[in-house]
Symmetry: D2
Subunit: 436 residues, 4 copies
Amino acid sequence: MTAAQENHDMMFLSEQFKKTRAQTLELVTTLEKEDFVVQTATFMSPPKWHLGHVTWFYEVIMSKMNPSYEFYSQEYSKILNSYYQALGTPHEKTRRGIMSRPTVNETLQYFDIINKRVEEFLQNHIADYNLDYMFNLAFNHECQHQELLVYDLQHLLASAYRPVKHHVAPKPFSIEKNSVKISGGLYDLGYGGDDFCYDIELPEHKTYLNQYSIDVFPITNGDYLKFMDSGGYEDFRFWLADGWDQVKKNNWNAPMYWEKDGDLWTRHDFRGKVPINLNEPVCNVSYYEAYAYCKWAGKRLPTEAEWEKAASWNEQKQRKTLYPWGNEPISENHANLLESYIWGPVEIGSYPSGKSHYGIHQMMGDVWEWTTSDFVGYPGFQSGFAEYNDKWFSNQKVLRGSSFATPRYQIKNSYRNFFRPDERWMFAGFRCVEDI
Amino acid sequence: MTAAQENHDMMFLSEQFKKTRAQTLELVTTLEKEDFVVQTATFMSPPKWHLGHVTWFYEVIMSKMNPSYEFYSQEYSKILNSYYQALGTPHEKTRRGIMSRPTVNETLQYFDIINKRVEEFLQNHIADYNLDYMFNLAFNHECQHQELLVYDLQHLLASAYRPVKHHVAPKPFSIEKNSVKISGGLYDLGYGGDDFCYDIELPEHKTYLNQYSIDVFPITNGDYLKFMDSGGYEDFRFWLADGWDQVKKNNWNAPMYWEKDGDLWTRHDFRGKVPINLNEPVCNVSYYEAYAYCKWAGKRLPTEAEWEKAASWNEQKQRKTLYPWGNEPISENHANLLESYIWGPVEIGSYPSGKSHYGIHQMMGDVWEWTTSDFVGYPGFQSGFAEYNDKWFSNQKVLRGSSFATPRYQIKNSYRNFFRPDERWMFAGFRCVEDI
Amino acid sequence: MTAAQENHDMMFLSEQFKKTRAQTLELVTTLEKEDFVVQTATFMSPPKWHLGHVTWFYEVIMSKMNPSYEFYSQEYSKILNSYYQALGTPHEKTRRGIMSRPTVNETLQYFDIINKRVEEFLQNHIADYNLDYMFNLAFNHECQHQELLVYDLQHLLASAYRPVKHHVAPKPFSIEKNSVKISGGLYDLGYGGDDFCYDIELPEHKTYLNQYSIDVFPITNGDYLKFMDSGGYEDFRFWLADGWDQVKKNNWNAPMYWEKDGDLWTRHDFRGKVPINLNEPVCNVSYYEAYAYCKWAGKRLPTEAEWEKAASWNEQKQRKTLYPWGNEPISENHANLLESYIWGPVEIGSYPSGKSHYGIHQMMGDVWEWTTSDFVGYPGFQSGFAEYNDKWFSNQKVLRGSSFATPRYQIKNSYRNFFRPDERWMFAGFRCVEDI
Amino acid sequence: MTAAQENHDMMFLSEQFKKTRAQTLELVTTLEKEDFVVQTATFMSPPKWHLGHVTWFYEVIMSKMNPSYEFYSQEYSKILNSYYQALGTPHEKTRRGIMSRPTVNETLQYFDIINKRVEEFLQNHIADYNLDYMFNLAFNHECQHQELLVYDLQHLLASAYRPVKHHVAPKPFSIEKNSVKISGGLYDLGYGGDDFCYDIELPEHKTYLNQYSIDVFPITNGDYLKFMDSGGYEDFRFWLADGWDQVKKNNWNAPMYWEKDGDLWTRHDFRGKVPINLNEPVCNVSYYEAYAYCKWAGKRLPTEAEWEKAASWNEQKQRKTLYPWGNEPISENHANLLESYIWGPVEIGSYPSGKSHYGIHQMMGDVWEWTTSDFVGYPGFQSGFAEYNDKWFSNQKVLRGSSFATPRYQIKNSYRNFFRPDERWMFAGFRCVEDI
């Protein structure tokens, strides 16, 4: 690597660092101090904690590369450790909302101090693969928490939250067909590029697929209402046994955040309590609900390989692309796609330029999509960063795509998100496939 | 009642109202906004909630006297209702710490607005018994919450809390005897005066006592350490069955807030983590621990009648007094007695002027004292204010006296405090009696 | 004591022992083996366990008097220890139903073997006070378990249980008055006789009572239905806070074992599912329900002193009696009173010869009666048999009288039964008093 | 189908029915009545329940084929329904141990009555595919419960259980190599034969495998002890996050049924408490423990496709076989293999004639083997018998092979067993694979 290249890479890391940090702060500019502190459910974390945790993660990264690195505060490290046993006993997740101290101001001060340390660190280090990998990991990590923060803000405040970004309503277009046939055979699953990716996206490996047809759009609120109206939540035959237990135990009768107002179904989100938009993808549903819908509809959920092929495969050129629309990063053309988190998922067919080579829409930027694939390592998996991903290889299902709250930087066809099958607080929906 | 008298009474109510409100605010002047919001245990409430609740209670009082009174906000009323079923479904106590809104500023604004409404209300009403009773109830209610707030601030912040009052260390004096003999016979239990008291202090009624001897001082930390050092927490024989279950379940091995630092027992309180003062009354112990100590010591806890007679009876004049030291309100002479909550209970024999006619010390102003009496109504009990006291007539033990955090206004020999036998977060200790 | 007296006493103990043991076996003669084994709720115990436990208790008694006594089996001792910490760690109560071994036959064999040991023991010991006390304690203990066994058989089998005793239906008589006035003043509470009593019935001591009036009959099913029909279970105003929590949590809407069959209330008991008899005392109600009824009726529950005076005091002769009807043991005249447990409580006024000197009926032999008195030691209490009674001095209410399942041997005006206020599985009802 | 063929088939069904029923009874011949009744853990069922349930399942089968079939008893049907929502609300599984009735004799009577009904049913029906399928399903179902019954008897009685079968100790032979290399490429996963199989074994479908090497023997107790001795249970790095939670919560430090006796590890099983046999496969371990062992050893668990290919593929003939040793049913030659459940898994290399074409030993008849494969339907899955298998398609891992308690009739290379990853009460072990 030449000095010029090195310099270039360091510039890039430094630029990306600043952007990422600014984006985090932007999400909390309109909060009151009190909003930073509370934990409204065991699955969410106080905004103050997210701010501290992503900051602390840079300290972890620096300490991995420089063993003599001294953490800012032992107490902060203890509180801000999410689940890394190697870094001490993490503070219990369900008790993140009982700490008034460090205060918001102290947390922001910590945020700034570590920013300075990181910039110095970047200036004083020679660019090598490891540096690049480690900081890219940290940026991606921060992006993940930006998205979690948006989920948490919905739970905490819903209509009282006002982020600074503004949504430009896209124009829907008319739909030609409902599903697309995908051919079978061997497919190379996983990341095949040269840039950063998580360990769980590797290695790229062969998998055999039967032919199948896949929906051109995610299931919409309108579709889902038909399932509800035909008694979907009352008929055990559509449900997995564990799903039916959840339905009974939690009295589920609609997606999370839905509320019936007289005869009208409404939804609590950042716009307040608004009537359901029938054309938007259904959101905040568990794996169990996705599964039940599919069984009701006589279809099934895709495997992650089926989803990825539908998003990646360019039949004409017989090769994979990084994004559904190709290999070029997200352009202005479909920028809105990924910056709409003020409002929520967009309508059917709003972004024709974002469709895949097979003509499949909304695979990115609306809702994460449940697959039937268990979250385990690919054949030949090698752990990248200890305790980050592989210790979660049980009881989780893979979700693919991205949601309207996913930062652009994070998006990739090969990205594997994962949640437990009963979780509903994230922006997750689904689309159906059928055997042919 | 003459107009002059009426005017005088209104003046008194108005003055007392202002004092009480100011005292509440004084307790929170040194808090950060974040401190107002969190709930660190299910038994405590966020300071913000206390502020709102005592304010809302004046709204309840006004609505009881003026049926057309309109509450400031339905939403606030729902959140700030502690447990009054008649006033709607109360917000679940364990979930008081999940609300960032109303903010602290909004709560303080509410505090001020209701202050103005109360003052107007007092100016526009003719003084009658009911007005007097209702507002005295509200003042006493607010005093109770001031004390609870201090308990909660200890749990929330302990050494990080800095109230504005300052403690003047009293001079201990030498002790002459350990216990005093009290004669038996009929005793009139309960409040016998003309001023405000709670319904549960009435009616004054005869009760028969055997003779007994009672400790001149509450059990001290030094006494309690002997119990601990002789294996008190490991020997089931001293414990009630339910108490032993708590010891095992919670791994109790010392009073709450105690922590062993090497060989030294320390205590977390508003002074930080400080070594145990052997001469201070033991504090933050449950009924079970008090009971076990007494059994270990070959003694027993008093009944509430035994405690009250020891505090009230003037053997010479053959009549009861309002306070241990007589009928005059707390004078400057023993003022400190009741304004020491910055630090904690005072040392043995620090306030000789506060002793009872029998020569018993520290019955007021240090720690509440557990009695074996079940909290039930006195014979002939009539409910005063619905759902305030009598719905708690089960599974609670009576405590007598007052703690260093009890506002002066609240103190009285006949006052009946009550907690469940496993609770330890309040400033409770005990003294022993013996049959003769 | 002369040799003749001694011999007489030993004869008595030996006779009583045989009677008591036979009575226990009689209760289980109609059971299937499978019935002996199961535990249908955490509050009950398998019949096999009761058989073993009362047997083991004789081993405990013998070991207390003869330190070299060797227990039959260490394993049995562990399993059959109910709650005596001094005798090892008791087997967890909620797990008594998971043991198929020792089998029923092995348990009955154990029952017989210990019978022989006890009879030898009695032959070889000189009668002294201690022997007398210890064995009387064991007989009383076995009687207590006979009653608990009947409760448990109701829960386990209800209508499928067929004990061998038969009930002769008594003739009701007409009612003259509803309540009786009892004068106030000092009363000597507790046991004043020379025979065996439990430590908790001692010492007899003075207590002061205001005058009061007490119901001539326990509250009947008919009375209680009026409370239910007027919405008693839906109106928080009648309930203690802890009681209301139980109502909500357990969906209580009637006494235990009641079931609504169309418009008709029925009850599951040893007669099968039968319509409620309006004239029988209400049974299987908690303290909370008794309290709520009284509040609804504008009355209150008695204290245990009020109950005992009403049962014991002979106004004419100005002295107490052992039983409501006097000092003579239960005669043939009111024998049925106490041998009706096949069916349940009897009708209003069925046994006029069993009434107290004040003319109060059914104080013995129908249902235990809740009092407001907390279960604590009397003034001057001395523990008799460690861990038997006094370790339960918290969170329990005293019940007085006896139920249709209480063995005759056990019955006494001064007997203090105790249960937690939320328990309903025992045969408990109540009667009301009023201040005058 | 000719009449002769039909007759032949009916004969077969009738024979197999009798054999299966006799085998069930054989398992309980040595039990006491009390043993039939109790439920010693929420995951197990009382033997009486198993007897009733497998009997009731024949009623279900007959009712599916003959809509006018009348069930023997509505009450029995309710109690004996395991989890079929379509057949009414099943009795709660955790409460199977609270019922003493129907008694054991009544249950055995029911067993016999239904036997007669089935035999009549078989005589009166024309053999068609459905009949064949339905009864084969019922036989397989009963075999599954025979195995579960053995698990449950171990938990209930362990050393006190004495089945009637006897074990002939096999002769171990010397080991040549530890692992075998299996080539990669496309493999046809699933059942490819003509006889009965479960719906979840279908359809046979292509899957792509990388090459891998697989252990010749399951992990032995000796192997596992090395993991334990090197601190495996104390080091979070080897564990899945959910597994580590289980270790902490349940204080796992060895497989289930292991107990440390001084320095010696022992195991409770049907032989009593015996020292660990270092050469036997480790048994009663969870998926989490299997995973942790592999990670510690630098290896991994196989997928179910990897396991099946290793068991089925005849490299020479380039085709699959039904059993590891070929297509012929279990011969006398390796009969013991599958009838050893009195004692437990056998020693390394004890049955050379049972090895697979690749030379892999003990794939059948010792312990079920954990795979990383999530239990979901194969591509193209069609549900066979509603609610039997497919409603469990979440939160379960596939296990392959069979245990020493699996009835011969049940065994097949393509058989997919499934349990939750934290379950340990079944006879499950594992073997490792490595990427090459």
